[in-house]
């Protein structure tokens, strides 16, 4: 079975936000009101972290997409009281919305702050109902959700593979963010397949994982910016 993982080249990332938008639309992530957003309740499964350094005019802005790291040793699944977040058979961290009791313990436990909570349930803005993705369930008020590596796409790929009587191949599916990246900064695939670009990139010197020292074993790798290596 493939071990799905992602490599994000921070040298290629332009900070355009296409991944963020693609994710939001693909996964029917709730669009909250402006007031709610200003209160810090905007919802993203993938958000761009920005870090500004230096002072004007030598300001440097660095961006990096922040999404579920799909840890092999996830701190969030350990604490869930009801088995609503779990490390599944595909080695991906899942979230069962109809079971989640909304205690937000997993959010407190996640060192990457990638889980989001449905503080309220506002209907989609006018016109948006028609573009909801039918493959992804809409989450009710009061539950935690997060990036799934577009698991619904994997499920579709699995069905095709079953129909063709073959195992799921590495090239069978891509999450929406990877597909949308115009700079080709995101690469997705099987981390265990040595012939695959993801596997090769993840073993280069530049490949780092966020908060690696915590031992969470994330499956998302970042290729450090070359200017940061000095």
């Amino acid at each position: 079975m493939p071990r799905w993982g992602m490599v994000i080249d921070l040298d290629r990332c332009t900070g355009c936000g296409a991944c963020m938008a693609a994710c939001k639309v693909e996964n029917n992530v709730q669009i909250v009101s402006i007031e709610e957003s200003q209160r810090g309740r905007r919802m993203h499964w993938l958000r761009l972290l920005t870090e500004t350094s230096g002072s004007y005019p030598d300001t440097q802005v660095r961006t990096a997409p922040n999404l579920c790291m799909m840890c092999d040793n996830p701190p969030c699944t350990k604490v869930c009281p009801v088995h609503a977040t779990y490390l599944g058979a595909d080695n991906l961290v899942g979230q069962i919305y109809p079971r989640c009791i909304g205690c937000r313990y997993c959010m407190a436990a996640c060192p990457y702050s990638v889980k989001v909570f449905n503080w309220s349930a506002s209907p989609p803005p006018p016109g948006m109902e028609s573009i909801l993705n039918p493959d992804v369930s809409v989450r009710p008020q009061g539950v935690v959700e997060k990036c799934t590596f577009c698991y619904h796409r994997l499920q579709a790929a699995k069905e095709v593979a079953r129909a063709e009587n073959r195992p799921v191949r590495d090239s069978d599916y891509q999450p929406a963010c990877v597909e949308a990246c115009p700079a080709d900064a995101m690469v997705f695939g099987d981390l265990d397949d040595e012939l695959n670009l993801v596997a090769q990139l993840s073993k280069t010197v530049r490949a780092k994982r966020a908060l690696e020292h915590l031992g969470t074993e994330p499956k998302v790798y970042f290729l450090e910016r070359r200017d940061a290596q000095v």
Partner: protein, 447 residues
Amino acid sequence: MPRFEPSSTQDEVLFRPIEQPASRNFQLAVVALGSIVLFAVFMYVRQLVRGLAVTGMMQPVTWGFYIISFVFFIGISHAGTLISAILRITQAEWRRPITRMAEVITAIVLAIGGLHPIIDMGRPDRLLNVFLSGRLQSPLLWDVASITAYFAGSTVYLFLPLIPDVALLRERNKKHRWLYDFLSWGWQGTERQWQVLHRAINIMMIVVVPIAVSVHTVISYIFAMTLQAGWHSTIFGPYFVVGAIFSGIAALFVAMIAFRSAFGLQAYLKPVHFQQLGKLLLAMSVLWTYFTFCEYLTGFYGSEPAEMKTLLYKTGGRYAPLFWTMVICNFVVPLALLSHRKLRTIPGILAASIAVLIGMWLERLIIVVPSLENPRMPFLTHLYFPSLTEISLFAGAAALFALGFIVFAKFFPIVSVWEIQEGRALALQETEERVSSYLPDEEVARA
């Protein structure tokens, strides 16, 4: 013949608040507290409809006032059972007028504290999932288990010593006879019944101690089991237990002083009781300070970046005013007021207790929020400020506690009548025998 028989004609003053018609002050208090509680209920229903958006919580501060109240109120509950059990086990004779109040605090406050995780839940309608698909590996399940056990244990522990008093009320009273009839559980005061009662109390007082310790340890584990800076600490278990007993004694003092003046119990709650328990409060203050020092020094000396960021945020950043107020309330004030006999008077103790209650509430706040406001990732962080809903639910919880207490006091004696009478009848002799048994035998002395 039983060793001693409690009398329903002595200690009139303890029965008076139950038998007299409700005073104007009592009615006013019930109405005032009741309306605060009702308002809180209204705000909670509003939260149920609108979702947790009515709170001040957000990303990344996903826990706020509710979890603070949860830790704080359950902490207060340690006043009771634990202190009463320890005083019984050590045969501290001055415990007699105090134990009942301590036990009542536990039972009421524990029920209130236990509600808070449910109030905090995004989907309280799915509460049963905790039982249907509960994961025993989750610290939250440990909490469910130990709080339930503690609630069961402490209500039994409150009820057992209440039985003989209920029987006295049954003898005296015309009012609410059915209630006392039912609750006295067929108590006749036979020798066999006394034996069983004493045995049951003796078993319960031992059983509740480890349960009580486990409760706050497990609550600390909710935080300590995560990897977050400022939470992931081995000292948290005992640190929380110490803080819990500390705030519990302070709450007990406030209750004792309030009922002493409201019911005219000066003859029962004497300065000596305050002196003795005041020493315990002082000891807990020093112990709490020691734990705080250990916790912060370890973080500071190791100076791991994430840990350091949170630590400086608490001691020198946005939370500095609250942090140093906490140190003053929990250490400086109790130390100043309680270490000298002259200052360890009832007003002094009341001031120290209120300071400790404020300080311990701040401590819970300073544990919960700053760690969440400082996520490890360079996250656009927001600052937490509670909303009206959260504040009114806190006020509602505090009011419900006071209301529960005064309603209890309207139906049952707030000082254990039979234990006072037992003390009068038997304890003097027993204590004399016990003390002489500590000394060398007389033949040895003569030889």
